[in-house]
């Protein structure tokens, strides 16, 4: 495995994208470290520990062993033949992160960070979660390593993701409801940062997405990039060539960054991120900062944000708790500006349709987050020739969303 493999090929004649961030954590004007002074020292300590880990073959071996034996990697690349035929255009392949232990890509990153935490001698883990997938993945690894674990979760999300809340509790984690602000993922992140600043000595904060202050966006991307490396190898060995398009949903953007990153230097591969359009981007009720936001500073980094004219963060809307976030990883902001990746949005209704389609067509129940990417593929594939290859990151399974979908369709379980 080549976690640091940065083939420094200039993309779009701008910058060698794969060599970013720079030493201060910047992706062009985005990223950085915008935190209160108290956190600057622990962030520097984390960065040093992380670099040390990545340079240590024993750490890499441990990480790879866990990915293979605990997560069940490599995840398959599955040809969705029936769905492709039905759409009548491009061939659709699904990168099956839903088959990972705990049901989503989130576990890749939590294992990496928990291994770093263990090396640093930290015994207490905290995390934020939206849909609960990152919370479950964190609680899982904390249980396995015998670490104490507290997960911050918006009160609103606790309501709509009760299944994952119970899973976390079963695993021994303490789930702290967050009542401030919009009671969703952004508020959980605020609360986790407040916890960290108050307990810097013994606590490791496992951020679940490619956001937050440097080194988190780079570190989470590096741990998640196993998705893209496998996909690239699987395409080359099974199909004899690279895919034409790679599509992933984007909330904070960790599953997208994980699958995009190893393809950044492959200029022929189109990278498409799908944001949560909520009721429709034109209504203002959505979670699509790359499609309709403005750059600003939140949660330790500069990126595109959903904000009003006064610079206040505005409430986001999405059927999917995991995408209900007003920011996005800073590397996505840079990929958007450089044109290396493009970003689109699909609505709640379209995502729901994508959810049902994959379930019926392929016998795979996807997460509502992932369903956004599927909904876009359903529009894209028919416009493309039959030899065009689209890989979709099937980032998570939908078991956790069954109550939401049932309620939306007027059913009581």
């Amino acid at each position: 495995m080549h976690l640091n493999a940065s083939s420094e090929i200039p993309v779009e004649g701008v910058l060698p994208l794969t060599s970013l961030p720079d030493e201060h954590g910047h992706f062009g004007p985005y990223g950085g470290k915008f935190v209160a002074e108290t956190l600057m020292a622990p962030l520097a300590e984390l960065e040093a520990a992380y670099r040390e880990c990545m340079a240590d073959p024993e750490f890499i071996r441990e990480f790879e062993r866990d990915l293979a034996e605990f997560v069940g990697r490599p995840s398959p690349l599955y040809h969705a033949e029936r769905w492709s035929r039905e759409l009548g255009g491009a061939q659709i392949y699904l990168k099956r992160e839903d088959l990972n232990h705990t049901g989503a890509h989130k576990i890749n990153n939590t294992i990496g960070q928990a291994l770093v935490a263990r090396r640093m001698g930290k015994r207490r883990i905290i995390a934020e979660t939206g849909a609960g997938q990152h919370g479950v993945a964190t609680a899982t690894i904390a249980a396995r390593f015998g670490m104490s674990c507290r997960v911050y979760m918006g009160a609103h999300d606790i309501q709509r993701q009760s299944y994952n809340v119970f899973r976390m509790k079963l695993l021994g984690a303490e789930v702290m409801p967050v009542q401030s602000g919009s009671k969703t993922l952004k508020d959980a992140l605020n609360e986790a940062l407040r916890d960290w600043v108050s307990n810097v000595d013994d606590t490791f904060y496992i951020i679940g997405t490619v956001a937050g202050p440097h080194p988190y966006p780079a570190m989470v991307r590096d741990f998640q990039s196993v998705i893209g490396r496998e996909t690239r190898e699987q395409c080359l060995s099974k199909l004899g060539r690279l895919p034409d398009s790679v599509v992933a949903c984007v909330g904070g953007g960790s599953n997208a960054m994980g699958i995009f990153y190893p393809f950044l230097a492959d200029e022929s591969v189109k990278l498409i991120g799908v944001e949560a359009g909520g009721d429709g981007v034109e209504t203002g009720r959505h979670s699509a900062p790359l499609s309709a936001g403005v750059p600003g500073v939140l949660h330790g980094n500069r990126t595109y944000l959903m904000q009003d004219e006064d610079g206040q963060i505005i409430e986001t809307h999405s059927i999917s708790a995991g995408l209900d976030y007003p920011g996005v990883g800073p590397e996505h902001a840079w990929l958007k500006d450089t044109g290396r990746a493009s970003y689109v949005a699909v609505t709640d209704d379209e995502a729901l349709k994508g959810f049902h389609t994959l379930t019926r067509m392929e016998g795979i129940i996807p997460a509502l987050e992932t369903s956004h990417a599927l909904a876009y593929v359903a529009k894209l594939a028919p416009t493309l020739p039959k030899d065009h290859i689209i890989v979709v990151n099937l980032s998570g399974r939908g078991d956790k969303d069954i109550p939401t979908v049932a309620a939306r369709e007027g059913m009581t379980l």
């Binding site: 330790g300 904000q307 610079g311």
Partner: protein, 272 residues
């Protein structure tokens, strides 16, 4: 550059007194209350008025200041209106330094240059953005200095010598020492640990050092005043505002509380 912050700290030093820096959130609990509260704090003995610019996501603040921000935002407060409050304050008080304290994004949205010249024109003397460490501060610093204001930075128990040096490069006016690892209004500072660190920071930065986070009572203020150049009080004032029945009651309670702090701080210095 000699602004009101520097003159005030110079005057305090020559009198052998420690300064009282008071923080309230602009627009808490409603926009009409703030001006009265600022003047009340000055009457009670505040040397510097810190005016919080409310932000939707105050990551470094505990529940007390979070609630103040929520009330202020619900009442329609924004950065433009905060500057209007400063301007109104200056009509009757030309000497008390005013420091704007908050988070970067509202300033970034307004634009650094536009903000800095508007803030200076309104009569603000300093800017403290909690989530802007010196590593990222260059562009705002340029605008703030060009407008003749001071940029104030935080230092924390976790700050290394290298970080103190980085802050020194950009800091003016005074340095705000966060006495505990935590958010505002939660833990209380250990006086002895604070004192040795303060003298070290004074020597390293060459600037007056104010101590905040966890100073909630006259006794705590007096202990901190013994060796620091200023005592910074915030959450305790917000609680008074929260519990006040109306603005006149809130104003007199704030004045009385500030006066109590002031007396205790002066007594302890006189006795030393």
């Amino acid at each position: 550059m000699n602004n009101r912050i520097e003159s005030r700290f110079a005057a305090l030093a020559s009198q052998g007194r420690s300064g009282l820096v008071t923080f309230i959130t602009a627009g808490d609990p409603h926009p009409d209350a703030t001006l009265a509260y600022m003047h009340a704090l000055v009457r009670g003995g505040a040397d510097v008025v810190e005016l919080g610019v409310p932000f939707s996501d105050p990551m470094a603040d505990g529940p007390i200041i979070q609630r103040a921000s929520e009330r202020a935002l619900a009442g329609g407060m924004n950065l433009r209106k905060v500057l209007a409050l400063v301007e109104a304050f200056r009509r009757t008080d030309q000497t008390t330094p005013v420091v704007l304290m908050g988070y970067l994004n509202p300033i970034e949205r307004m634009g650094y240059e536009i903000f800095a010249s508007a803030a200076a024109a309104a009569g603000a003397d300093g800017v403290l953005t909690v989530d802007l460490p010196p590593e990222e501060a260059g562009p705002l610093h340029g605008a703030v200095r060009a407008a003749g204001m001071s940029q104030i930075f935080l230092l924390a128990p976790t700050s290394s010598a290298a970080r103190v040096a980085a802050v020194r490069e950009f800091a003016n006016g005074f340095v705000y020492y966060v006495s505990v690892n935590g958010v505002t209004g939660e833990k209380s500072a250990e006086a002895t640990a604070v004192l040795s660190r303060v003298s070290e920071l004074k020597a390293a930065t060459g600037l007056p050092v104010g101590v905040g986070f966890g100073v909630r009572t006259a006794a705590a203020a007096a202990a901190v005043a013994l060796t620091s150049d200023a005592v910074i009080v915030g959450s305790a004032l917000i609680e008074i505002i929260e519990n006040a029945n109306d603005v006149p009651a809130g104003a007199s309670a704030l004045e009385a509380f500030a006066h109590g702090l002031r007396l205790a701080m002066d007594d302890t210095r006189a006795a030393a």
